[in-house]
Symmetry: C2
Subunit: 247 residues, 2 copies
DNA sequence: AGCCATTCAATCGTATACAATCGACTTGAC
DNA sequence: GTCAAGTCGATTGTATACGATTGAATGGCT
């Protein structure tokens, strides 16, 4: 992976370490204990938005936030820019930055795309999973079952994430895994609401079982179909939820 | 607990932008005479990276770029951050920003995902396209044919983009369209190389015709399959290209 | 009274300045 | 001759300051 695809090798300068140790990278995670203020602020704001501390439509005042975190406006601005890139926040040129109020239509669209990516990951995983990956997948499924038996919604929510993570890891496409994680994160706040539905957790668990069965049987199309339905139903459920709250 | 859904207008202040005007995020075309320097610099750098002015692995010196554009380091920094978010550039904590040298494996992965998204867009477009959208699609196809007849690679490259844009617009899923555009942009530099292959342009045109036929016939699965192949072959071709250059 | 122009205030985007961090080089000892 | 530690330089990341643009309010005019 170190060898880059040199589209223009002739232009490489002699004394430049252009080909030298390009960092392994690609682990987009907030690595290590570096004291990057911007990143930390971004994470905090992300969490606060997800938990509802900042309701939709609220303006994120750079100065106020800077004061709250005891930093200057610069890292706050950078953090907000990252949120804008992530789609959680919208900037209006000289008005301010606002928490995006995602409409139902957009959410359904996002679930549609999420379903496609998850289904793709499942299809690939069915062909490419190895013994270790299968082991992790089964472990995650067992953990989901345990949480479901105890009717522990929060625990199930957490284990559910682990379960899908296991599929991402097994799909053998790191880029796909990254994109899926991005979307997963963005839909986090809405996923959580799903489990409040009466039998949603048990139904979800049953779907998980069928997904694992398909993957371990090497049934790509089957895993694809199961996962697509598994995600799409969440979008539909969410539409139902909104519909019941609307009037 | 407030959800991010706009079901709670009570918290909305005076003139909140609860609308869904998605400004395509990366629009900011040069049409407007606004003096947003950061966006312009981002576009320029993007183009320069795509055209090979900045080879893979090259360091993007903020000060040098700032001097080159006659601005301060701040907008340059912001532009680079946007490129990092887009995945074209990578920051190393205290080393600098480098043009990402994407390995062949990652490129193939990206083409895989791109194929899936394009195929999805085609499938949806086959069901949802309206008369105006069909008109635009046909216009784009005719433009592609004209460019191919003249063996004008650059023109075909441009019209090809328009063609795929037409599909995105017709898919009826703005979020999907945005994601597809993002990936399309990221693969821009590599797509361009495809057309250098002897008969690639004619083959591409033939695929375009079949895609349009499937979409206009309302054949969702057909359009999906055609588009998936249309994109995947590019990944394979690229792998061939690299293989021939490797030794 | 209603509409329009001007003024005003607020906020963003950019410029400049400073400090912390990391790598590379030099220098010295073993 | 090799290795290690210290210093230096370079670059990022952050702080502060300034100008420009925009929305809103106020006052005058029709």
């Amino acid at each position: 992976m170190d060898s880059a695809i040199d589209t223009a090798p002739s232009t490489l300068k002699a004394g430049e370490p252009a080909d030298r140790s390009l960092p392994a990278a690609s682990s987009a995670g907030p690595a290590g204990g570096v004291k990057r203020k911007a990143g930390d602020i971004r994470d905090r704001l992300e969490q606060e938005i997800a938990t509802g501390t900042h309701p939709a439509g609220e303006r994120l005042d750079e100065q106020v936030i800077a004061a709250r975190f005891g930093v200057s406006r610069t890292p706050v601005r950078e953090a907000i820019n990252q949120l804008v890139a992530g789609g959680l926040v919208e900037r209006i040129p000289n008005r301010g930055a606002f928490v995006r109020a995602m409409g139902l239509a957009e959410l359904v669209e996002m679930f549609e795309v999420m379903a496609e990516l998850e289904a793709m990951a499942g299809r690939l995983a069915a062909r490419r999973i190895d013994a270790a990956g299968a082991k992790r997948l089964e472990t995650a499924l067992v953990a989901c079952e345990a949480a479901a038996d105890r009717e522990a919604h929060d625990a199930y929510y957490y284990e559910n994430e682990r379960f899908h993570e296991a599929i991402y890891d097994a799909c053998g496409n790191a880029f796909l895994a990254g994109e899926a994680r991005r979307l997963h994160l963005r839909l986090k706040a809405f996923r959580r609401l799903q489990l409040r539905f009466p039998h949603r957790m048990r139904q979800s668990l049953a779907e998980h079982r069928r997904i694992v069965a398909a993957i371990e049987a090497g049934d790509g199309p089957g895993a694809e179909a199961e996962l697509k339905g598994h995600i799409l139903v969440q979008g539909e459920r969410f539409a139902d939820l909104v519909a019941t709250l609307k009037p």
